[in-house]
């Protein structure tokens, strides 16, 4: 008698539990789906918070970091004595390797007109260490700064650099405005969007 009652009761409990669990998981998924489809987020670093600790170059999960130096040309002073390009104790102001701040020689220096030079980042070479950013921000206009390049970034679930950023400069921002820029570039970017 008791044996006969046991099995249906167990089945009943399982089926009730199954329905409840199904509603719970389905409900959570449905609710989140409704909110998630509204906007997509990507990782970006706020250059105003960045302290150039060089972790961007080492913490990214990619073999070469998705963080690169970018250049707001509108803010650049085109200086000959560039704090972002030259070692502080550089022997001369030329393109020889021992004078360059950049460990990979990723900044191209081109003569424009006396006494001005143009500085352009070769992103293939840039490792995102931010040495030039520190130099430019300390001695120059701060036209060089770091940004996550979204053509390279794989948008990890939790960004490994964000986790280790001492200034908490990384945050998720809307994917339709995925950069935090400076100078006229910022205004132009806002207009384009």
């Amino acid at each position: 008698m008791a044996e006969n009652k046991k099995v249906p009761r167990r089945d009943f409990l399982r089926s009730a539990g199954n329905t409840a669990a199904g509603i719970t998981v389905g409900g959570i998924a449905g609710l989140l789906f409704a909110t998630s489809s509204s906007k997509e987020l990507v990782w970006q670093l706020d250059p105003e918070l960045c302290v150039q600790c060089e972790r961007c170059s080492t913490e990214c999960v990619l073999p070469q970091s998705a963080v690169k130096c970018v250049h707001s040309y509108s803010m650049c002073g085109y200086c000959d004595l560039c704090g972002g390009y030259l070692e502080p104790d550089a022997k001369s102001r030329d393109t020889s390797a021992e004078n360059q701040l950049c460990p990979t020689g990723a900044i191209q220096r081109t003569f424009v007109e006396d006494p001005y030079f143009e500085y352009k980042i070769d992103e293939e070479l840039c490792i995102g260490c931010g040495k030039c950013v520190k130099g430019c921000g300390s001695f120059g206009n701060g036209s060089l700064y770091l940004q996550v390049r979204h053509d390279i970034c794989v948008n990890c679930n939790e960004c490994a650099i964000a986790r280790n950023c001492p200034a908490q400069a990384f945050r998720r921002i809307p994917a339709d405005t995925p950069y935090i820029l400076r100078g006229e570039e910022s205004d132009r970017y806002a207009r384009e969007i």
Binding site: A21, T35, P47, G140, R149, N157, R182
Partner: protein, 430 residues
């Protein structure tokens, strides 16, 4: 002449600036020149994010793999094909998609999304969370068998499984609950996704990452040659949830295709110790005693929850260190009290930011309070798990056949081959 003047001017500026400026902040020190040579300023490139196509493809591959795994385990009953699908999942979700996003960590996104309205959870995270659970709710943990890349890499290296003693398995089996509870609490309180942070296999999938974690992954794989899927059984937090679902599942793989003949041949076929053996019939006089014991255990559950909750809530100080703000506040306090002379990048950054220490400490105190409340929840959850485990032990399990344990069975189909009825079935089909 003008050049020299300019340089000396720059030098003076540099010296003054170096004294006041610790960190690089934008400041228009040198005006942009008016070029006379007709030089045109370059424009900055701003490449957009990769399209969501891959996310959609991932979800589609997940759904198809889950359906296929379920069909292979429940209908086709083929270990070979499940193994093949498992290798595909390892190649696709593991090495090709580099282990992110994965279902194992997705519950953290869900927890984070519920506590942070500003966070829009990726669509892929929603599906990677819900689809395996829903499939488990209908057909058992077929996700673990052939779709999870973390399971696949461990299953692949399993060559000579040894049986883990029951007592050890039980003790280690507690860790996933603890890991799940901690991960949810940290995600809700904004202290990061620890399951992603300490994923031992993602570094192997990416051929790079933190050395310690790759070493840990290697250790797991080495251990995995003799202990079946150590991460899945003794760590995986998502496996806990899949186990709950699977326990309630509508259908589930069975060892025998039709009837159990009690030949005991399947007894040692499971490398994960997930086969329940038939129980002895219970004498009547023990039944009433068992009932009383069961009642006591059920009444003890709230007590366990309270005691565990209180205990874990007292751990708010060490637990809250996982949160960046609290860790920073502690460092600043040490520095201010002269207990350490070495500053960290984080404390330097804080001091340069111009925020007041009072402000930071107030934030840290608030977060620590949240951790105390979170500790009650986490402890309560662990107490509930512990209490229910005791309840299930004191309950008489009644079973007549050899059956897979629905909570722990991964539907890997290894046991089928050991069942004589399976061979009859295969023969009758030709």
């Amino acid at each position: 002449m003008t050049m020299n003047k300019k340089h000396s001017l720059i030098l003076i500026m540099l010296l003054t600036l170096m004294a006041v400026n610790l960190f690089a902040q934008p400041q228009q020190r040198f005006p942009k020149p008016d070029f006379e040579s007709g030089y045109e300023q370059l424009t900055m490139q701003t490449p957009g994010p990769r399209s969501q196509t891959w996310e959609i493809i991932d979800i589609a591959v997940l759904f198809v793999s889950l359906s296929l795994a379920t069909w292979l385990a429940l209908k086709k009953r083929s270990r070979t094909l499940i193994f093949a699908l498992m290798l595909f999942a390892l190649a696709y979700f593991g090495f090709f998609r580099q282990g992110c996003i994965c279902a194992v960590g997705s519950f953290q996104n869900v927890a984070y999304a519920f506590s942070n309205p500003g966070y829009a959870i990726p669509i892929s995270a929603v599906f990677f969370f819900a689809l395996p659970l829903l499939f488990a709710l209908f057909y058992g943990r077929t996700f673990c068998a052939a779709v999870c890349p973390l399971g696949a890499i461990q299953d692949f290296v399993l060559v000579k499984p040894v049986k883990v003693p029951n007592w050890l398995g039980m003790i280690l089996g507690v860790i996933p609950y603890l890991y799940l509870g901690l991960a949810v609490m940290f995600a809700v309180l904004g202290a990061g996704f620890i399951v992603c942070q300490y994923d031992p296999f993602v570094g192997i999938f990416r051929f790079g990452g933190h050395f310690d974690l790759i070493l840990l992954g290697g250790a797991f794989l080495l251990l995995g040659t003799v202990v079946g899927r150590p991460y899945c059984r003794y760590l995986c937090p998502f496996g806990v949830m899949l186990g709950w679902m699977s326990r309630l599942s509508k259908k589930h793989v069975t060892i025998t295709p039709d009837e159990c003949i009690h030949c005991r041949l399947c007894e040692n076929s499971c490398p994960f110790n997930a086969i329940d053996e038939p129980t002895e019939p219970v004498p009547d006089q023990e039944k009433s005693r068992g009932g009383r014991q069961l009642l006591i255990m059920i009444l003890l559950v709230p007590l366990f929850m309270t005691v565990f909750g209180w205990t874990v809530s007292r751990l708010d100080v060490p637990l809250s260190k996982q949160h960046h703000t609290v860790a920073l506040a502690e460092q600043i306090k040490l520095e201010n009290n002269g207990l350490t002379t070495e500053t960290t990048d984080a404390s330097d950054a804080f001091r340069a930011s111009g925020r007041t220490t009072e402000d930071l400490f107030a934030d840290a105190v608030m977060i620590r309070k949240q951790f105390r409340a979170g500790g009650w929840w986490l402890g309560g959850f662990l107490g509930l798990v512990f209490g229910l485990q005791l309840v299930s032990w004191s309950r008489r399990r009644q079973q007549v056949d050899y059956e897979p344990n629905r909570t722990h069975c991964l539907s890997c189909a290894r046991c089928f081959q050991s069942c004589p009825r399976e061979h009859v079935r295969l023969k009758s089909r030709g």
